[in-house]
Symmetry: D2
Subunit: 111 residues, 4 copies
């Protein structure tokens, strides 16, 4: 660490190294999450207005599908970056990354 | 319609008859939906902070499960009220309610 | 119970009254299940032949979807017959049938 | 191909090169698939005996969960072998393997 660097800058730089796999698609993923947040708020409005159960259920199913699509997009980026990088480095860390990804996939399949 | 009733009152009364199946649990369902809205907003914050993919994925899976639990609660109320009432009245409407519920269940199972 | 009736006949008759909700579609449901059994046997053959993981996975996903479609068909019949009959009779049994159906739906959604 | 080699041996050798990711767990996966095949056959027997819908549904849900567990095990092996090997080799093939795995995961999540 070069002398004279304020600590904040150093930590920021460190954070940039351990970058998330979805960095490239961050804006798009945030947009999708905000749309889902809006969908859930819309469902609250429907319940507040005593809208018919089936209409509410269909919107809940739509929001669920949208969340699962985000999960699949995040997994795709995770495999293509974090897992790929760990495998390129090789060794025990690579095995651990594969196992971690498999466990995450299992949780999503069961959700 | 009794003469002298303003139209607004008449419509309000009609709407009160076609009550939603979840009326009894409305407060609880709204509370759960607001919590899910908060979960989704929390996920946006995690993505904004470049949090690790697997942590984000786990929160997406948790929000998905919470949404599916709301769907199951809504279905339970729908069967216990709307479908039960239609079956008590009998006739073609009862058959239609069963079919409508089955289609909604299918959409939730596939979501 | 009329005197002189052997007990076995009486119980058999009782069992015939409590008929399964899918009776009308029994042949079709059996045909679908046999096809799924064949799909699973086909997957065993693929694994035995060391076929590529993704091909095997796609067949597993197809068999899973086929099983869930059978579940939805069974539920549709169950709502339209067993639950409908219990609701027509009314009382505590009707409530119990609704609750039982909801629990079954929850298990299918989570499977 | 060395002269004098019987064709069968040559093909066997070739097949061993393009090995499936699940080779190490082949016996275990076959055992699980056979058990699922037996579960499905058991469900056919239940339907044939007019067993109560909810009992049948619970067995369908159990078989569905067992199939999804096989899918997750296959994916784990696929990531740990086929995808890992492609990433070790690098290049365009590695990207294609990641994309192929993501599409397979998406089909399983939606099944």
């Amino acid at each position: 660490m070069a002398p004279g660097y304020p600590l904040g800058v150093f930590f920021r730089a460190t954070a940039e190294v351990a970058v998330a796999g979805y960095t490239e698609h961050k804006t798009e993923i945030l947009k999708r999450l905000r749309r889902i947040e809006g969908q859930v708020r819309g469902i609250e409005g429907m319940v507040d207005d005593d809208r018919y159960c089936i209409e509410v259920l269909d919107q809940v199913a739509a929001a669920t599908r949208a969340l699962q699509a985000v999960a699949i997009a995040l997994l795709d980026d995770h495999l293509g970056h974090c897992v790929a990088d760990a495998l390129a480095s090789g060794g025990a860390e690579a095995d651990e990354k594969i196992r971690e990804a498999s466990r995450a996939i299992a949780r999503i399949v069961k959700s």
